[in-house]
Amino acid sequence: MEHVKTDIVIVGAGGAGLRAAIAIAQANPEIDVSLISKVYPMRSHTCAAEGGAAGVKRADDSLEMHFNDTVSGGDWLCDQDVVDYFVQQAPLELIQLEHWGCPWSRDEDGSVAVRPFGGMKKKRTWYAADKSGFHILHTLFQTSMQFPSIKRYDEFFCLDLVHENGRCTGVVALEMRSGKFFHFEAAAVILATGGAGRIFPFTTNGAIKTGDGMAMAYRAGVALKDMEFVQYHPTGLPGTGILLTEGCRGEGGVLVNRHGYRYLQDYGMGPETPIGEPVLKTMELGPRDRLSQAFWHEQKKGNTVETQWGDCILMDMRHLGEKRINERLPLVRELATSYVGVDPVKDPVPVRPVVHYMMGGIDTNIDGETSMAGLYAIGETACGSLNGANRLGSNSLTELLVFGKRAAQRAIEYIAADADSQGGAGSRSQAETAVKKVRELLQRQTGDESLAGLRREMMNSLEEGAGIYREAAGLEKTCRTLAELKGRFSNIVVHDKSNVFNTDLQQALELQNMLDISETVSASALAREESRGAHQRLDFPGRDDENCLRHSLCWRQEGEQPSMAWLDVNITRSHPGVRDYSGETQA
């Protein structure tokens, strides 16, 4: 095993990880940063985000409004100190990106343009055509290359955290190209590995979103928070699950059922707004949870369109015209044409809700600190909680920047205060154990389970029991199935025995991580007996602020369901009210 002594390890080189790395390099170039990622940084899933990043910009907007939109959008499960800090820092971080060269779309006068987005009272979403995440990621990556203190370890798969006496002392990783194991000994570790959408069968998420960092923290005894809150994005392409940005609706696209009727008005988001003139925070610009839930109801009523990929509704953008679509939504046009054979300039596009984002994640505070000293988490991996029970579109790209920087600053303070925080013999033997487990998995010769088969069963079980609408019996069944699948994992054989770029082994390790994460989703969903935001219970249809205005926490228990506890939400000034997305009351 190779040993690397470093100051700060960052796992994951997407938007959050890169932002943290740059923050450390700028604050103190003497600090050795090891940026470890299982893919090259430009492959990180940040690149797939399309719509934009929110930050107050216009004179008629205010931090207070952004705060209120976010808190009510999150169904009051957001920690309000986190939201306050977020809305304050958002514009500054987006301007910083602009200074680093991000090609934000512009108004005629040369200032950065903002577009309307779901659940937002004012236009405040900064965008770069419909490839905002792509441009943000590449801007950060290209900017990061000028700092020699950032050492990159590309295509290193992190296996486990190493910790001693309640403090994190590093990570163990597998170098994909050689099969060598590396023990990174660090004073602090920042996890930025993204969400775990791949546990579901229909998702916008790419292959790499397997919740590795969440699983590592979970296995190390750190709690995962609010895992029941899984966001379904209302407009994904059927079949592939490819994302069609909320920006489509921001530009004026409308959603209709098979009768050509704009059904959202039946679900508290009316009255119907004129076509092509969207009114913020109503109809198609309502929040994602409400829109996805409306689909589910329409499907039950038989109002959805049958396609070769299953039931869909239609997103009509024809009235935007070719020029506007080519200018603002060129990627969307290409995706719809290529993957479902529909040109949005000419025809309405079939779409359906697909899993997109996890509001839940590693339990952190406003500084990105976890319950383990020296361990931090940022981005989709973490749950601060900024997004509460439902995330507003375009808040998460900004979240990467704001908390990427803040956690980095906190980590710098931590390692300065604690010079003697390197691990010792305990860490080394832990690392050896982690490696031994992987070697055993690789060398196992007998077993009759198929990796792809187990994975598919896991996905189907979650979709069936823990989808848009849930109820106790379905969730209990899913919990049992997942436990059984975890057991059957020990009968998997990794057929590829090579040390060189073994993706069979990688997928097996990712499945292990996903099985760990899945059980937290179903267990937390079962435990939360109310409907709030993206978590909807048919058997508990209302929001229960008296008993359930709190975060769920779960800890791993070997061979058993996770143990659960509850954590109060930090409410400073906004108390639970009605989430009103109807046009009548929007002044």
């Binding site: 190209r177 050689s178 099969g179 060598k180 040390n499 060189v500």
Partner: protein, 132 residues
């Protein structure tokens, strides 16, 4: 732990045979041979002129009326003048994109401008030479 990256050999002499786009690139580049021939031709014509004697010049002109040279000039006209010019004019908008405000000048206009200039210059040459 045995990485052994494998480097696929590339033929230095036949790499262009793998795809039609490389073959047409080589064809375009081969026109440089014609350029070289014309250089030699013009230099020998100049030398004939510079010799001062009428016979040398007449000999030079007579040589150009040989069938072989006529065929060569015909071939060069098609391959060099027409094919190469079309190829290079077509690529001109890539090397010199023109943007007025936030609209790009269509590449076709830039190409057309090249042809216009070619026409004008050719006409001027023919006029000087007394052909028109």
């Amino acid at each position: 732990m045995s990485r052994r990256p494998y480097i696929r050999p590339v033929s230095r002499t036949a790499w262009y045979m793998t795809h039609v786009r490389y073959k047409s690139y080589m064809l375009r580049e081969l026109t440089c041979v014609l350029v070289a021939v014309y250089c030699v031709l013009i230099l020998s014509g100049l030398a004939a002129l510079a010799s001062g004697t009428q016979t040398r010049w007449d000999e030079f002109l007579a040589s150009q009326q040989h069938l072989a040279w006529i065929l060569f000039h015909g071939f060069a006209l098609v391959f060099f003048t027409v094919y190469q010019s079309i190829a290079w004019f077509g690529l001109a908008p890539k090397a010199m994109p023109l943007q007025m405000g936030d609209r790009t000048v269509p590449g076709g206009l830039i190409v057309a401008a090249h042809y216009m200039l070619w026409l004008v210059l050719s006409a001027a040459l023919f006029w000087i030479a007394g052909v028109i």
